[in-house]
Symmetry: C2
Subunit: 223 residues, 2 copies
């Protein structure tokens, strides 16, 4: 009864999951943009996913899409693969954190459950990937994430960097250079009302850096 979850379906589910994390339901257009697929094609796939047995998404015309429990499990499986792979590539093959994303995007659909288990074991069952993003557990639940955007901090607040968005390799290289990486402590020295810029002191670095919201909205911290 249960239909095959193809690579392309896995991609849809993964991106729906990520869009659902932020706002409520994912819009056809946002999904299309992320997947690099025409909106009309996305509509077609969403109809298919909603009508499959069991349904993988909840979809009402013109009202966006969310995952069902089944869809969420499938999404978390892919995300677990992805984040374990990123960790594995960094520790085993010497990739740097800005190079792993594309490779993991391809491998995540292909590795077996055995491969997944062996990686997890070899890495000591890590809970976060190299960007600090939480890795879903083996039983496919996503640990709670307490962190908030660096952009939400104000003058004199201190926090620990937890994770950074891995979308943009150039941003990742920049963050590495200025030392803004997971588990590092930072202090906000100044907040600018006008442009939202934050002046930051990074633990172990002598000079402060000024970061715009394009950066501070992509870095997440625990106070």
């Amino acid at each position: 009864m249960s239909e095959v979850i193809t690579q392309s379906i896995q991609d849809y589910l993964k991106h729906i999951y990520e869009l659902n994390e932020h706002g409520g339901s994912a819009s056809t257009n946002d999904l299309a943009a992320r997947l690099n697929i025409a909106p009309a094609s996305v509509t077609g796939m969403l109809q298919k996913l909603a009508n499959s047995t069991p349904p993988l998404v909840l979809y009402k015309k013109h009202q966006g899409v969310t995952l069902t429990k089944n869809g969420e499990k499938a999404a978390l499986e892919v995300i677990r693969h992805h984040r374990l792979l990123e960790t594995f590539l960094v520790t085993t093959l010497g990739y740097s954190w800005d190079e792993v994303h594309g490779e993991a995007d391809k491998l995540e659909h292909v590795i077996s459950e055995d491969f997944e288990a062996r990686m997890a074991k070899a890495l000591g069952n890590p809970t976060r990937d190299p960007h600090g993003e939480l890795i879903p557990t083996a039983d496919l639940t996503m640990p709670a994430d307490e962190s908030c955007p660096l952009a939400s901090l104000r003058t004199d607040e201190t926090a620990t960097v937890r994770r950074v968005s891995d979308d943009d390799p150039a941003l990742l290289r920049h963050l590495r250079e200025i030392g803004v990486v997971p588990e590092v402590k930072i202090t906000v020295k100044n907040y600018s009302e006008f442009d939202g810029n934050l002046t930051i002191r990074v633990e172990g670095h002598k000079s402060n850096v000024v970061l715009g919201t394009a950066v501070t909205s992509q870095v997440f911290v625990d106070k």
Copy 2:
């Protein structure tokens, strides 16, 4: 001008290469059997590959198929991926030699050239995979193979095991158990005219083993 080499085309080329190694040109039927695809579908694909620019195969109706230089390069690329992956899985993730084949079959189509290069480096540029099969070089040439089937040896001949066929996991487990693995020395104690059985002494093992041609034709040695 040059068309995309899909996963499925890679599989065709890889199997054509392997069939070409033995007899001359590969037959539609043999290819179909290896690929688990209907013969009619194979014909269609061969026509496509022969008419692509550049052509990847030489194909004349009813006369089987061989690879062009371009086709051979593409095949060797896939085979290099496969064999490096098998080696990598064994040394890095503790797979045993009978478990790696399926996983490598999926990954071989997906890894980047960067991934290939990193594996090769991490493994010290190996020349053979865990089954002793030769790994094509980085510039895509296949090293010469001097080995001959164990089945061709006769009483009192001594040889070194070079490689074993990796098609059958059960056979691999059996060979490992009796110690018939690459680089081990063996001596033929007896040859039976009637059934082709060979009685073998394996270096470091006290008792002899008797092997039928189903086994000895899959093991390759250097005299």
